[in-house]
Amino acid sequence: MAPLVPSQEELQRRRIIGINAETVTNIPSTDFPGHWPGESHSWALDKFKNGFNVEFHRNDPYEASFSLIGLDAAVANAFRRILMAEIPTLAIEYVFVHNNTSVIQDEVLAQRLGLIPLKGSVEGINWMQWFRKESEEDDGTPADTPSDFNTVVMHLDVECTINADAEPGEQDPRKLYHNAHVYAKDLTFHAVGRQEEYFAGDGAIQPVNPDILIAKLRPGQVIQLEMHCIKGIGADHAKFSPVATASYRLLPDIKIERPIIGEDAKKFAKCFPKGVITLEPVTSAEASRPGSGYEGHAGELKAVVRDAFNDTVSRECLRHEEFQGKVKLGRVRDHFIFNVESTGQFESDVLFLEAVKVLKLKCARWKRGLSDLMA
């Protein structure tokens, strides 16, 4: 028996998650075999390929926004989680304090340094490998030796001195002293071995934002540190997370089911962010159609949904008596509007591709492990 094919309206209905004043309805995905009698929802690659679509809204190095359409929440969420926690990046992990006479304690200073986002030649960062730390389980595996392929060395060497050229009566410590403020730009990169080729010129490892304040000094105070940067993942420490934010929301859906006309229409438009609802005059054709609800209102303004994309789904319109039963709010189940903000080590769109790669690699490695069970 050929599988039943549901009508377009039915499919559309299933795609919308209902958002009501107090409840959310039609939440779980139902596109699984056996859920709808007679319908086939088995995995089919070409079916997925036909239904899946990507739309870009914005693509800047530090911020990308795009829609993934035709995907299940389980997969979209996997991408989001991987973006935040499982893409390897470079960050300061070990700080060797040779001298620190500033008021900021060694451990606090080290914590601040770790959180500074670094950038450098992407090719070089991809070439670098893991630095394996000493095992916590005390099973005797020693830590790796720091080498050019697993550790990047940076130094911070500042001393605060009195500025003899300062004007008399100067109050600003930055003018009164040299190096009163220590910034991220004061970190210096020291290439070792092959790093000289990979991180040459503009590709040198450096802070993304040169003006991050690290510490404040007064004359006579010194900070001398050596820092080792290694690769890590966000699951281990947030400093390794390549994104500032990685989030998605579902596309809002607004349906005006019965006419909203005149003053009501103006009030209705005010319930939404600008540009979501627009006002259009009722055409004479609409007004002459019996049962349309527009009879005798030709020329008056009616509310029309222009662009639901920017709606916040605040549900404000559901609070008003006059719109009861006239509007239906919802969200599209399989339309994910992603927003990815990179911290600067990689470009935002590259990060998403990297996330897909990580998920695939994860599957490949586990699948390879299955062969042990097959035996």
């Binding site: 995905s29 699984f32 075999p33 056996g34 086939s40 929802h41 088995s42 995995w43 690659l45 997925f48 390929k49 899946f52 679509n53 990507v54 739309e55 870009f56 693509n59 795009f66 993934l68 995907l71 299940d72 389980a74 997969v75 969420n77 996997a78 991408f79 989680r81 991987i82 926690a85 499982e86 390897p88 991809n126 490998q129 893991w130 394996r132 595996t141 392929f149 993942i233 769109d349 998403f352 591709l353 897909v356 790669k357 990580v358 998920l359 695939k360 690699l361 994860k362 599957c363 490949a364 490695r365 586990w366 699948k367 390879r368 492990g369 299955l370 042990d372 069970l373 097959m374 035996a375």
Partner: protein
């Protein structure tokens, strides 16, 4: 069908990192799946170490898309234990292990499609915005 390998052998050998050109490893540990006790050919629970909702839910989705699978669910039995359990029950037409393998394959195919369409759409967008800049 495998017997239960839920034994006390904890031999977690390290993967050779490959000093010159390694693949991008997520964890250094070798990935090992354990079949929990009480499994038969069609019904089995698998234990994944160092995995969570990321793989668990995505894999559950992929496996549930298989018409020969009657039940698939995942759980993280304890939040401070980095383990994920995946339960698969199938019809007589296939085995739990085969369903798991198909789940991985389908998920990998899905990733390829996402990469392909994403790259395509991004390149088109970049081209269009550079055209707009020139005008």
């Amino acid at each position: 069908m495998p017997g239960s390998v839920h034994s006390d052998s904890q031999d977690q050998s390290m993967v050779d990192a490959g000093q010159e050109q390694p693949e991008v490893p997520i964890q250094l540990d070798e990935k090992r799946i354990v079949v929990l006790p009480g499994a038969d050919e069609h019904n089995a629970s698998f234990q994944f170490e160092n995995e969570g909702h990321t793989l668990g839910n995505a894999l559950r989705y992929a496996i549930m898309k298989n018409a020969e699978v009657e039940f698939c669910g995942y759980t993280i039995p304890h939040p401070s234990d980095p383990k994920m359990h995946l339960r698969i029950q199938t019809t007589d037409q296939t085995t739990a292990l085969a369903a798991l393998e198909k789940g991985f394959s389908d998920l990998m195919d899905l990733c390829d499609v996402v990469t392909e369409k994403f790259t395509e759409s991004r390149d088109r967008f970049n081209e269009e915005s550079s055209n707009r800049m020139q005008v």
